[in-house]
Symmetry: C2
Subunit: 610 residues, 2 copies
């Protein structure tokens, strides 16, 4: 299936192909002799999918694109401060191979000019004999495959590279390099001679976009704390002295090399690579610059692109009058929740909780805090929580509690760093709950404790007092009750399994049961919880079908069971009793159905989350 | 309530306050005489909330922070190409007030040095006498209040600004300025003398962050198409010759002025302003630089910060076996949807649909396309769709249709630019539907047309053949049917209103009705749709309560009504009939309840979207 990305790549490729401006690098014969019109273009996503156009399997020498990679290795080996003491990060107005240091700091101006790159190579840890292998393995981790070296290019660079040797000795004379400068210069020649394809280069860029981890192999090429620095230096100094135009017209951290390669990175998103050996006056690939400009425009990749302004991280907000837990409630409880449920509010957050989104979300919650007794902040859809956002959420909780409001978090992934507490509706504020349903039940209990003083689910009920019989006369109850089977189950037992035949209409006398389904991954999910005074198993009893879900005793359980045989027989022996029971059951079913359907509200589908 | 942002601002403020390094600008007496230790720090969010620390209401002259604003006005007045023909965008290694042009292009190197800024002022449209007022109004639109000018500073600058006059005449001699250069230089002196507070400056930065629109007033200060260019130039050239260090350690487009102000922008997110008049050797506010570094670190604002890699724009994906429309279905239809509903899949997208997210989403949908007959792409939670994403969605549709799959979009906000078609379940592929429920119904119909050949909702049904009576004997039906009231309603009429007393159990003989609720904003939402062979109004009839929702005839409607009086009377006259009816009603209610509750699945709350 040809995708739009393929099409756009092909369009850009076609438009750039006719551009034969520029000239090959000619300071060594190996570069002057490459086929000048080789051209390829690759885009790799941060999850490792690669789109390619042109001859993306042609190998070429990485040259200066090695500079940010070795700089990253030096940062990892020596730490940011030690590296900063040796190499500045200011753009240089001078040619990349200038034999000079910053007159004030007496350091190379940045790691993208040769003086800075040779210094970075000198900072790679290890014995001189091992350092090149460390560099090669590092680059290979970026690319996700074992990279080789072009020995001819290396030999040629080593033979003719007097200017770089001059730079090495200058660095040694200023004390920037403290060992033999020939070793650092030789290492630099070797790293520049490592060969890559544009597919490799796109994956190297995608590895930077993916915070230093190659998305296909999962190997870490650069620790996340150094990625930002490497990308910053690529932004300010990566494209030689065309940085301003590059930022304005491409807007991506990038690095080019005289081998004709260009790589560009959109952090968190994609990597781009182009290979085309003809260079412009700055030393950048002519088609590489053109292709990056066109791709940035066509794909809207500029890193300063403002879509719309940041939106709140709040995905939805609702009260427990609008959303109910799976706990089946008594009529009085339902009425109390309908009347006072707006005193408990759930805020569902989503996306990455970075500063701006968290700030806006916390501000919204606090603005409404006067109107509620309980707040649930649901993080189950949140992908990442930054340190400042974590601090803001803790502060929100403290502020709410200082106002006498209860606050709980749904945080199954532990973003807040706290251990999730088990389901305990009696628990009050500040708890971290493992799922939204537990949090809803907790929030409902806060409301009910304040606003539902009678009609709460009783601890236990005698058979004759079970609400199912409320429409029956005393004598009808008296004759029916002895015919019920009273059964007890220890907590944790399975009462019935999905598919079992009906045991009858089960009247709960004490304890709690939950209907549960087991997902394809083996996890069990609660559908509804029933407590004393409620019934379950009506549908299998009425229809003769099997149970649609497992039913488990959450606690020690006592049931009075009206068996299918008894229920059928009542039609003949006591039709008035059967009518009264059916009316009660029907009413109960429709009330629940109404609650559920109305709760679905205006927009949401009836949705199973896989 | 003290927020974490207030706390962080206060912490940064305290740490920076002791820093008394740097010196006041002294080239005119007015700047040399300001209180040197004035200090304030403001953060404005892209939605206009301002956090402040220090004396944020002290006015100071905007100075060079005016440069990007006037550059933006020139872009708006003349277009990007005409401005690019006069001013380059490369960082200059030279002082900001150098009397020189780029030796190759013979243009000012960028709009942040004085030569470029004076050129930008010369490009502001209007008669010379009107131009300053246009500039002042433009800046006022950024700040959201009417800004004034410090006449003493202006007079002093005008009296002593020989270097800027020299630059003006140099620009005139090279043909960069074509009118009287004194006018442009005077305009530049005036714009630099406009006074702002750090609160103003933070809102100006927030306006840039908000794509050029002041978030409090809604006034557009700069058209969105120019914002990216202005921010780009601030990135590469905004902090004089400390751009590399600024990008590495702050990572925000920014601009400073010799009045001691600094403004910084995180696109889409926030604006920052600092005012502290002591300057470093680069001409940047000492505390301004320190405060921006600390804020960037504490709030994780660096624009190259990689959180986690881009995730797919797919928020959830489910089949019509897992999610059902509000269309009430026959048993056969329900069974067919349960068995074959996995042949129709809904992909709910969210967030901004930019390139990387759309690419990943489309790739996922196409990877699963072999397994489905119908695809719904739900955009109702999508905030913005970029051009390339729009193209990718259209291509996805074409590819699916070429494979013989049906495809529909839910796009109530018209992101795709197509007019949403009305609800028409018969419509096949490529349609744009206004809500998810219509799309679910459409997707169900695709599945049912292939997999449910019998038992579909009939066009019409005679009273005696209504499924409610399926458990009755023929003679029972024969005696009951004549006692039903047959009623007809034209399409579009309201059958009952919320709160009305029960008319009875309504058996639909032909046509469709929907239960609807009217939201607080007056919009009407469908809860459930019923068709021939179904019943409604059971709950009010059984309980004597009023209707909980309006019920409207979607089409011409024919009902047979079993009145409350008749239903009550059946208990005495024909208890076996009443039992059979109640069993059927209970069964139906529990089946629906079961479908709904199971559909809620593992995680979703029963959620009303406000």
């Amino acid at each position: 299936m040809r995708t739009v990305v393929d099409t756009i790549l092909a369009e850009v490729f076609e438009r750039c192909r006719d551009n034969r401006d520029g000239t090959l690098a000619d300071y060594i014969p190996e570069l002057a002799e490459v086929p000048p019109d080789t051209f390829s273009l690759c885009v790799a996503t941060a999850d490792g999918h690669v789109y390619e156009a042109g001859s993306s399997d042609v190998e070429f020498t990485i040259q200066s694109i090695s500079k940010p990679l070795t700089y990253g290795l030096a940062l990892a080996d020596r730490g940011a401060d030690a590296v900063a003491a040796k190499i500045d990060v200011e753009p240089s107005g001078e040619p990349f191979n200038e034999i000079s240091l910053d007159p004030v700091t007496e350091r190379p101006r940045n790691p993208m000019i040769n003086a800075g790159a040779i210094t970075a190579a000198s900072l790679v840890a290890g014995e001189p004999a091992d350092r090149f292998e460390r560099i090669r393995r590092c680059y290979s981790a970026y690319a996700g495959r074992d990279l080789g070296i072009d020995h001819d290019v290396y030999a040629s660079e080593a033979r003719t590279g007097h200017r770089n040797r001059a730079i090495g000795h200058m660095l040694r004379s200023f004390g920037i390099i403290t060992d033999d400068p020939e070793d650092a210069v030789d290492l630099y020649f070797r790293q520049c001679s490592i060969t890559v394809t544009s597919r490799d280069l796109a994956l190297m860029a995608a590895t930077l976009a993916n915070n230093g981890t190659n998305p296909l192999t999962g190997d870490c090429a650069l620790a996340p704390e150094h990625v930002e620095r490497v990308l910053s230096v690529m932004t300010s100094c990566g494209m030689y002295d065309a940085a301003g135009d590059w930022i304005a017209r491409v807007g991506l951290p990038a690095k080019s090399g005289v081998g004709g390669g260009v790589m560009a990175v959109l952090p968190g998103q994609i990597g781009i690579a182009v290979h085309s050996p003809r260079l412009d006056a700055h030393g950048n690939s002519v088609r590489g610059v053109q292709a990056c400009r066109e791709l940035s425009k066509a794909l809207e990749l500029h890193f300063l692109h403002v879509g719309r302004a940041a939106r709140s991280a709040i995905r939805s907000s609702y009260t427990v009058a609008q959303a109910t837990s799976r706990q089946r409630r008594t009529d009085d409880e339902r009425a109390a929740l309908a009347a006072h449920g707006d005193r408990a509010r759930v805020y569902e957050l989503h996306g990455d909780l970075l500063f701006a989104g968290a700030e806006s979300a916390v501000r919204s919650v606090e603005a409404q805090s006067e109107t509620v007794d309980a707040v649930v902040v649901d993080l189950h859809r949140v992908d990442e929580v930054s340190d400042v956002a974590r601090r803001m959420l803790a502060n929100l909780r403290d502020n709410l509690e200082a106002q006498g409001r209860a606050c709980a978090f749904v945080d199954p992934e532990g973003h807040l760093g706290a251990v999730a507490s088990s389901v305990d509706p009696a628990t009050r504020s500040g708890r971290v709950l493992v799922d939204l349903d537990s949090a809803l039940e907790w929030a409902e209990s806060v409301v009910l404790d304040r606003h539902c003083l009678v009609g709460r689910v009783p601890e236990s009920v005698e058979p004759a007092a079970h609400p199912l019989f409320s429409a029956l006369r005393t004598d009808q109850v008296a004759s029916l009750v002895p015919r019920l089977a009273v059964v007890e189950y220890p907590g944790g037992t399975t009462v019935v399994r999905r598919g079992d035949p009906a045991i009858g209409i089960a009247l709960i006398l004490s304890g709690r049961v939950s209907t549960t389904v087991t997902g394809p991954n083996g996890t069990t999910h609660r559908i509804t919880t029933f407590a004393a005074g409620m019934t379950f198993g009506e549908l299998p009893t009425l229809t003769g079908s099997g149970y649609l879900a497992d039913i488990r005793a959450d606690t020690p359980l006592r049931l009075a069971v009206l068996t299918p045989e008894l229920f059928a027989e009542l039609g003949a022996s006591a039709p008035d009793v059967k009518v009264a029971l059916l009316e009660r059951l029907t009413e109960s079913a429709y009330k629940q159905l109404d609650t559920v359907i109305r709760g679905l509200g205006a927009k949401g589908p009836i949705l199973a989350v896989p």
